[in-house]
């Protein structure tokens, strides 16, 4: 099988061709970690695969775990299939929790959905007769997300949207200039902890607005076909700004 032939570095290359006509390539930092990983003995692999601290320098990237699971499946290595499968499953759980945090509480349906998603992702990654799972070694988070979107008839998107947004009284309009900082991944650790407290005290609808704003989606635009927070949530820009005033008050009290 061509897709399983090792390159000169001992790493099995990706073979899937994207719509752009280019073969998928792993990001350099992923490629570098996999090149290091293929030289490790089994005990060291087991030790490092079990590290959960994201800041530990020995922490395996999601894409590296995908690679290890795929090679374990190729070799029929049951111990590593179980270990890497569990590790990857944990990463999927974490990704899904990001979504559930944005639209809590978790319903039974959502748990079923996560299990279906887990089965789909693991199966695609472990299927060495196909390169359909190559993108999981490029951007695992996005791979899981697109699996969620295309696998279950947009279940995830509908789940995120299908919430009550309009239960709060209208407040006076306010600006949102402090929100540029919210949700930033570049904050120092102590600020990140404060951020967590801050997010915990937001309502579900406030979280959604903050996340979309931080992602760069404008509140409103003149073009009716454009993506805006207002059009996505089906509320007026005035309502959104009122929500943001509440967010800002919470921000000032926590940070």
């Amino acid at each position: 099988m061509d897709s399983l032939e090792q390159g000169s570095s001992g790493v099995i290359p990706l073979t899937k061709i994207a719509g752009t006509g280019k073969v998928f390539t792993r990001p350099p930092e992923v490629e570098q970690q996999i090149e290091e990983v293929v030289t490790l003995n089994r005990d060291e692999l087991k030790r490092r695969a079990s590290i959960v601290d994201h800041d530990d320098e020995d922490y395996f990237r999601d894409e590296t775990i995908v690679y290890l699971l795929r090679t374990a499946a190729k070799d029929g290595d049951q111990v590593f299939i179980d270990l890497m499968g569990e590790m990857l499953s944990t990463r999927i759980e974490k990704l899904c929790k990001r979504y559930s945090n944005a639209a809590s509480p978790i319903s039974v349906d959502f748990e079923d959905f996560v299990q279906d998603l887990r089965l789909f992702v693991l199966e695609r990654v472990m299927d060495n007769s196909s390169n359909a799972g190559d993108f999981a070694q490029v951007r695992f988070g996005k791979f899981v997300k697109m699996a969620a979107d295309s696998h279950k008839k947009r279940f995830l998107t509908l789940y995120l949207k299908d919430r009550d947004f309009l239960n709060h009284p209208i407040r006076e309009e306010n600006d949102d200039d402090t929100l540029d900082k919210i949700g930033s991944e570049e904050l120092p650790t102590d600020k990140m902890l404060q951020m967590k407290d801050f997010f915990d005290c937001l309502t579900v609808e406030e979280k959604k607005i903050v996340k979309m704003l931080n992602f760069g989606i404008p509140i409103e635009r003149n073009d009716p076909s454009a993506v805006t927070i207002s059009s996505e949530l089906g509320v007026t820009s005035r309502t959104i700004r009122n929500r943001l005033k509440s967010v800002r008050e919470k921000w000032n009290s926590v940070m």
Binding site: Q115, M126, D127, R139, K142, S150, K211, V227
Partner: protein, 197 residues
């Protein structure tokens, strides 16, 4: 069922999408794939929910992930049958740090019995289940993979090339008990231990 075409379109979107939301990029993709315009829009918007602080997993979350993984893998392996089959006992043993001699010792076999098993010249049904499980543990593949390996045709005829005009007949397989009795390397005690399995 997954829509493979949609999956590929989303892959293409995700591959080159800017880190932050970009209306122009989304519109260009929607123009190329009008049949998935809504899905692309939904995907682009829900990207927002991947941002923010890293969520912490509770003990309950971890237990769910572990249990979910077990169930999923069992389902996948049950569906895939031959996809994960062992290619060679000795190669797998080598991957686990054993040479032929140490692998034989770990399994309580002689080198020649290992050779018989490797070449599948022993009737699979005659190999004691306890031995299959032991080998599965040593190789870390589980007993099913070993059993599946032994149940295939002998290695020297399966897929081998030959010079004569006709395929050579498959050599008759021995029973495990006969192979043990004929072994020249094991002591009587070792043979009895194997025959008692």
């Amino acid at each position: 069922m997954i829509n493979e075409k949609l999956f590929e379109v989303l892959e293409e979107y995700a591959l080159d999408a800017p880190e932050k939301f970009d209306q122009a990029y989304l519109s260009a993709m929607q123009a190329r794939f009008p049949e998935f315009a809504e899905e692309l829009r939904d995907y682009a918007v829900s990207e927002a929910f991947l941002s923010g602080p890293e969520p912490e997993l509770t003990a309950e979350d971890l237990a769910r992930a572990k249990e979910g993984s077990k169930r999923a893998i069992a389902q996948i392996l049950a569906r895939s049958d031959n996809k994960f089959e062992l290619q060679s006992l000795l190669k797998m043993a080598k991957d686990r740090g054993f040479d032929r001699k140490s692998f034989a010792a770990a399994a309580g076999l002689s080198s020649s019995l290992v050779h018989y098993l490797e070449k599948r010249r022993v009737e699979a049904s005659s190999v004691p289940q306890k031995l299959i499980e032991k080998i599965g543990n040593i190789l870390e593949t589980g007993a099913d993979a070993v059993s599946h390996y032994l149940n295939q045709p002998a290695v020297d005829t399966a897929g081998a090339s030959f010079k004569s005009m006709s395929r050579p007949e498959e050599r008759e397989k021995k029973t495990f008990a006969d192979a043990v009795r004929e072994d020249q390397q094991l002591s009587d005690d070792e043979k009895n231990a194997l025959l008692d399995l």
